[in-house]
Amino acid sequence: MENRILLVAELGPDGHLKSSLRSLLTAAKFLKGDIDVLVWGGDTTSAVVEAQHLPGIRQVLNGSGPTLADGLAEMLCALVRPLARQYTHILTAATTIGKNWMPRLAALEDVAMVSDIVGVESSDTFIRPIYAGSIWATVCCPEPLKLMTVRTTAFPGTEGEGRDPVPVENLPCPAALLQSTRIAVQAHVQEGRPSLENARVVVSGGRGLGSAEHYEALLGPLADELNAALGASRAAVDLGYASNDVQVGQTGKVVAPDLYIAIGISGAIQHLAGMQTSRVIVAINKDPDAPIFAVADYGLVGDLNVLVPELTAALRK
């Protein structure tokens, strides 16, 4: 049987498609079948056109309207549910949005769901990390409708453009539900820096930085020199050195940049869960036995207050 696959996209704050969709496309290619892309949001005008040019897809579904602007789980379920059974697989990125609505849809459709896949073995067998990534489980999902969130760092994005724009089908915008409403948003942007999800280099700081001032004063210039995003351990976020959305780890973001520099981070398993598939890892820590050194390609033992400014200065030259 030919699979029918739906990829549910996400838009960035700028209204453009997030690059995570190209990773979903790569995951979907392993499943073999027709691929549709659903774009949703308050205003999807530019994202729909971008989606139409993706390689290897059949059509774009467009769900646009005021009730979809906030990405509420209840609304996304109302949008996707009427179409769900036309598909054998629905995939979305394992973001705070995807993790929010997809399990809700699964329960409404009475199907089990597979979270955070990092590999596709066949059209019903997937690999997913459990226990903070210490273990990988190979899971068979026999449901007629397979719902999955995808860890996009595990699937390099499909490059290129399709030859001709594919057709677009407009979906009715669901009516407002009263269960929940968004009453405030506090967006955090790293001024002038790439986002954690897309950065080629990530400079991450932990409790060893000692204060919010140090975090910014030591890591900021280094990040600027490397055009890197700033990340943090949970301890650094809890202590107020960095904002919650840059926490890397089991319960924060999973990143896999070309270069990850861990500074004053001990390397607890929950932190490693979010960065250990980075291509190259550098650790700076004064404790030669810190567990971070077990995953670091290059380790530097010493005081970060000395080493980090030295590193920044050396890069400037």
Partner: protein
Amino acid sequence: MKILVPVKRVLDYTIKARAKADGSGVELAGLKMSLNPFDEIALEAAIRLKEVGQATEVVALSCGDAMVQEGLRTALALGADRALWVSSTEELQPLSVAKLLHAVVLREIPTLVICGKQAIDDDANQTGQMLAALLNWGQATNAAEIQVGEGRVDVVRETDGGTETLRLILPAVITTDLRLNEPRYATLPNIMKARKKPIETLTPEELGVTVEPRLKTLRVQEPPQRPAGVKVDSIATLLARLKNEAKVI
């Protein structure tokens, strides 16, 4: 207002899980088990709402084999008023747990259910959302702040882009993130008292729920390990290596 807090007993977060040699499962024998950290946070949130007079009763609930009663004892020691055990030796996947919770909610009629955002063993992050769906209640996951008002609750939730505040009409389901609060420790007298408190027992049959696992774990294994790295002795060496060997800068 009654609050229901579902709690799971999991491998303690300080212990690195290992796969059994034959790949059939995770090695748990003899290892320290604890309440899921997110569930401790959920309990703490519920107990604080009771302490400020916004909640009248906190009911802890755990589904699983006889061992999960240990987790319920901890919940009682921390301040839950009652404990419910849904007894089952079946492998309970999130959809099954959500159905059991749904059935319990229909009996207990809580105004708020506070779950953990994810169990740190299966890392599924599904159950709370599934429960909200079955109940047709609103949901707010990853809560960093909870404020209960008249007929509603405002929840600041952590998102990939920062935070946002949702207003939910009660009843509702909330799942907790790490920064919601710092859970208290159980005192020895309370632990002793909790030993004597009754735990009410229910079964999936009584609740009219089939708990058959739908997903089948074919095997588990430890992921590919990174090859051991090297320690370098200076910034200059580090930069040289990053340039010439790793070619990342």
